[in-house]
């Protein structure tokens, strides 16, 4: 990744504000996310983390103040794993999700192996546990070629080893010039610097 490309922000917001049910969740949220950065959104339950993520990825288009500027389509993984119960993990990874990606058979097998689902490629997803379904969802990170990843609680229901591997993947993505914005209640163990965005006080650190 040339150093010039790293400087251009992949995503920029201008004074984002959101009021839900008469409560102001955040206000005047202005930040820029460039390639090579990992941002973690902090905030308690109901602080508006998911609402913020949905605004950033473009699912929420009305009802908030401010502007989101995104230079390319990000990969967004939400709370729901988006894994269809009737399809096998392999088939689930074949249909395209947000952002650009490559979806050939070899890469899908490799991605499933990387998330520890070797041998489960062709069993229907409803026979998998909740954690395994979330792992199928995480496998999408290996297939994605999008530079910006928006991850909403990506470690839900994932075991410790899986979380460590996913964190390594995030580090690698950031080192390769990508950017990650994620919500998580855990302290991240990654090799790169973690930018923190706290919704409780609206502080960008």
């Amino acid at each position: 990744m040339p150093s010039g490309a790293v400087r251009t922000p992949l995503l920029a917001t201008q004074s984002l504000g959101l009021v839900r049910g008469g409560r102001e969740l955040f206000r005047d949220l202005t930040f820029e996310v460039c390639g090579g950065e990992l941002w973690q959104v902090h905030g308690g339950n109901g602080a508006g983390k998911t609402s913020l993520m949905r605004i950033l990825c473009g699912l929420s288009r009305y009802g908030f103040e401010g502007e989101v500027l995104c230079s390319e389509t990000p990969l967004y993984l939400g709370h729901q794993p988006a894994v269809k119960a009737l399809l096998t993990p392999r088939e689930n990874l074949q249909w395209h999700v947000s952002g650009a990606g490559l979806y050939d058979h070899e890469r899908i097998d490799l991605a499933l192996a990387r998330v520890g689902l070797c041998g489960y490629e062709d069993s229907p997803s409803h026979t998998l546990s909740a954690g395994q379904r979330h792992r199928v969802n995480l496998a999408r990170l290996f297939l994605s070629s999008a530079r910006l990843w928006l991850l909403d609680e990506p470690f839900t229901a994932i075991d410790k080893a899986g979380v460590n591997e996913a964190q390594d993947l995030l580090s690698a993505h950031v080192d390769a010039g990508g950017a990650v914005i994620m919500t998580s209640h855990q302290t991240l163990q990654v090799s790169c610097k973690v930018h923190s965005l706290s919704l409780a006080h609206g502080v960008v650190a």
Binding site: Y76, G78, A82, L86, V97, G99
Partner: protein
């Protein structure tokens, strides 16, 4: 198809309702023949209505719909694919088995061809309109009744011309004009309904 029962259900529903009419109205074959076009069309309409609620439901529940909206493919084509799948499993199959039920209701054999063609065209419109209702109500926990109220008025023109085409074939007058109007409705619906469905899905996912 992983769940064959979902294909069978609309057909069984169609069969059951068609059987109900002779039970309620008496089995006199003259009586049945006069109302047969209406019965067949209303039954097709109801079975379409019942299944259209589920078109986007499971995808909304498991988060696939969010990904579909954000995916690089145009949403117009994606929803068209959904509706096509819905039509294949309800409209197309119903149209193909309808001659069987038509004969049960003593519909003249000469009208069977018109019945199939009118159902093929008409159920396409029904699936597209039902998709609009489904897209608007998918965010609601129990959208079943609301979807009926929303789209039944839109179903009426299809029912009028579909029934009239079969009636015309029975009386010996040319059914062509009615079928042409159904075809025009289908063309219009294919062009416009996916836009409305896409917009409805975006609204539902936003709320």
């Amino acid at each position: 198809m992983r769940r064959p029962i979902e294909i069978g259900n609309p057909l069984l529903f169609f069969a059951m309702v068609v059987v109900l009419f002779p039970l309620g109205m008496g089995p006199s074959s003259d009586n049945l023949a006069t109302v047969a076009p209406g019965i067949l069309w209303i039954t097709a309409l109801l079975s379409n209505l019942l299944t259209s609620d589920a078109v986007f439901r499971s995808d909304f529940d498991d988060g696939s719909l969010e990904q579909l909206i954000l995916a690089p493919q145009p949403l117009f084509l994606s929803v068209l694919a959904y509706i096509a799948a819905h039509w294949f499993t309800t409209g197309l199959l119903l149209a193909l088995v309808s001659p069987l039920f038509a004969l049960m209701l003593n519909l003249p054999v000469s009208a069977l061809g018109t019945l199939i063609v009118s159902l093929l065209l008409g159920t396409g419109v029904l699936s597209l309109l039902g998709g609009v209702g489904a897209a608007l109500t998918v965010g609601l926990k129990r959208g079943g009744m609301l979807i009926s109220l929303l789209i039944l008025p839109l179903y009426m023109p299809v029912l009028i011309f579909g029934g009239a085409a079969v009636q015309a074939a029975i009386t010996g007058s040319p059914p062509g004009p009615y079928l042409a109007i159904l075809g025009a409705m289908l063309s219009l619906a294919i062009a416009l309904a996916p836009l409305a469905i896409a917009a409805g899905l975006r609204i539902s996912i936003d709320a």
